[in-house]
Symmetry: C2
């Protein structure tokens, strides 16, 4: 049936739908991502979307893949460990640009072509340090896991704020009062030190610290 172009030309396309969905999820979060909202944004009927997409699950997979498609691999150097770190930072940056992916990425692992492409690049970097395919696979998985989890943790606070409609200050104070009560019990001395002494507020620093630990360990284990 070679290129049968029977019927009306599509005004809607899969690409347009995915783009609108990503824009909506970026702007208002995963909870606001409903088929009706997407259709409204596109000025089309709700159920028309199903002509190009089998369901919401597939749509989210396509959205995830689209994010990985825009993720271009960082320029390679002669230091494989630095290159691996750069890949991790690039992935983190993409996840921060699209906060919904860090949350959704945990419950379904996408396997779109562009996801595979990115995975392939990272595997290539690791293969400069080892020939063991199993080890390379586990290294990449460890790094991806850490990046994904780190971003998700960082964003969870913001997500709560958006859902409750609290400003950051209100939220800080509400949590602060509760934490203060916990501290006053004196039951958790190390937790108290953490709250009172630790300066770990900067998500960037937390990420870099964990990344440094993980990469240091990876280099040691691979050697």
């Amino acid at each position: 049936m070679r290129d049968r172009q029977r019927g009306a030309r599509p005004a809607l396309t899969e690409e347009k739908i995915v783009r609108a969905a990503i824009a909506l999820a970026d702007a208002e979060g995963l909870d606001a991502l409903s088929m009706r909202r997407i259709a409204a944004e596109l000025g089309s009927g709700t159920t028309s979307l199903y002509r190009h997409i089998t369901g919401k699950d597939e749509l989210i997979e396509l959205m995830a893949n689209a994010v990985f498609a825009e993720l271009e691999p960082p320029a390679g150097t002669d230091d494989w460990l630095a290159d691996l770190a750069a890949h991790g930072r690039a992935l983190r940056a993409a996840l921060l640009r699209h906060p919904w992916l860090a949350q959704q990425g945990m419950r379904r692992q996408a396997l779109g072509p562009d996801v595979i492409r990115q995975s392939d690049h990272m595997l290539g970097v690791v293969h400069r340090a080892t020939d063991d395919a199993s080890q390379a696979a586990m290294v990449v998985e460890s790094l991806t896991t850490f990046v994904l989890g780190s971003v998700a943790a960082q964003l969870s606070d913001l997500e709560v704020q958006r859902k409750t409609g609290m400003t950051e200050v209100e939220w800080q104070r509400a949590v602060g009062e509760y934490v203060q009560q916990v501290i006053d019990t004196g039951q958790f001395p190390h937790f108290n030190r953490r709250i009172l002494e630790a300066d770990d507020r900067d998500p960037e620093a937390r990420f870099e610290f964990g990344l440094a630990c993980l990469l240091t360990g990876i280099r040691q284990v691979l050697s």
Copy 2:
């Protein structure tokens, strides 16, 4: 109003609700966890639950805290790194017992008293290696992040199978065909090696590998 026991005695309690909710989520997954189902399981009216719980969000937070409550800290040895690993494995075991928590844990970080207790224990272990409160906090966060992410990744496959109703064999074959197509294009040589050569199917081994990397790096960075 000291201990005013006006009105009817509660047949429902927060604890019973949380217990029923955990049992339901364990058995049928997070998607099956609805207020109506919980109420049905308890033989009560749906909206009666709201007498003891402000909403579903709080309920899930209570559920998370309850899981941490049953998580008893492993016995300490004289090796802080081994103790830290034991804490990581205990956390992983708890998350595998309650698969919904690994998924939900990524979008809301619970701060219940038992969560704080567990955090305090881990901080105590790390403080045997360093006095820097910031570093200790970041070490614990890195480990928790990795464990959470690792379990979530491991469970995502099972979740897909449950949702689609496919058996593991059907799922393997469906994915296998797609992956075979990707391999045949030959565009991703490292990905191909990973699929064809790598033996990384055992989630336990993957977790232990990543854990070893992370802990090795942590020891090095802290020294």
